[in-house]
């Protein structure tokens, strides 16, 4: 039986995706209001107080990219242990979505850096460099998958890479504790902390980013399963043609 088919997609799956999409859209509207109007402007400690609001987009993007690569790591382990090809599909979808969030974190970080430090990038900052390494690991994972045609070999090599590449996540996250960094530490241990309204705005932003991540991930997994089914049908037709 095919893993996915337009007719086989259960109605409740479609409803779940629709609910997640609506919740994501609604929470994003609330997030925009809270970021632009509710959260207070932080005048002390920042050279560009208005640009500081990029924080509410930048931090959730970065955290979601960590979450995405953790999903790649877990799904890769499941695939290599249990030979579950659905796990491989989830790993691939999570890597693609994670790459997207990682890119957004780099873009928003660069914009905030330009506003705050008058520089889009600072090579001497270890946090920035390790996060760029994570982005390159994501890109290499996607490039590896794209370069191999044979499905089983592709899944196996990608699975191994997904496990080894996970080192980029703790490397990036803990870099600010191990090495000196210009990057601000806010909500992590040792950080300055947040005012109540700022914490609330950040919390709502996190919720909307999580919902967007879930919606895009589920959609991407379904599309990948559909693509695999199309390939299976093509092989079946080619096999029948030679009979």
């Amino acid at each position: 039986m095919l893993a996915y088919g337009g007719k086989n997609l259960a109605n409740n799956q479609v409803q779940i995706r629709l609910i997640i999409m609506l919740l994501a859209f609604f929470s994003m509207m609330v997030t925009i209001y809270m970021i632009l109007l509710y959260a207070p402007e932080v005048a002390t400690g920042f050279a560009a107080p208005k640009a500081q609001r990029i924080f509410y987009l930048h931090l959730p993007s970065a955290i979601m990219s960590y979450v995405a690569f953790t999903v790649v790591f877990v799904a890769s382990m499941i695939f290599l242990n249990l030979k579950s090809y659905k796990a491989d599909v989830v790993a691939f979808a999570a890597a693609e979505v994670g790459f997207l969030f990682c890119t957004l974190a780099l873009i928003t970080g660069a914009l905030w850096g330009k506003a705050e430090w008058d520089a889009y990038w600072r090579w001497e900052d270890i946090r920035l460099v390790t996060f760029l390494i994570l982005w390159l690991i994501f890109a290499a994972y996607l490039g590896l998958r794209n370069s191999i045609d044979e499905p089983e070999k592709k899944a196996r090599l990608a699975g191994v890479f997904g496990i080894i590449g996970f080192i980029g996540v703790p490397l990036s996250y803990f870099s600010m504790y191990i090495w000196q960094t210009l990057h601000p530490i806010v909500i992590s241990p040792g950080g300055g902390g947040l005012a109540t309204e700022m914490g609330q705005a950040l919390g709502v932003s996190f919720i909307s980013f999580i919902l967007i991540f879930l919606y895009i991930l589920i959609k991407r997994v379904n599309i990948e399963l559909l693509e695999q089914n199309v390939e299976q049908l093509k092989e079946q037709i080619e096999g029948d043609a030679y009979d």
Partner: protein
């Protein structure tokens, strides 16, 4: 730095929405193409199955 940086905030918002929107458009067209291919292939499989029965 005397500029409050508001323009960077607007660019960041625009970039986030644009990237998500473009990605969702890409997924939408990819899904439509695959569903179309699936329908055509299913027709080919069923017509091939009928020919074999004959």
């Amino acid at each position: 730095m005397t500029d409050s940086g508001i323009q960077y905030l607007y660019i960041a918002y625009t970039a986030i929405w644009l990237v998500w929107f473009l990605y969702l458009v890409y997924l939408h067209f990819k899904q439509a193409r695959l569903e179309n291919a699936m329908k055509n292939l299913e027709v080919m499989v069923s017509s091939h199955g009928k020919k074999r029965k004959k």
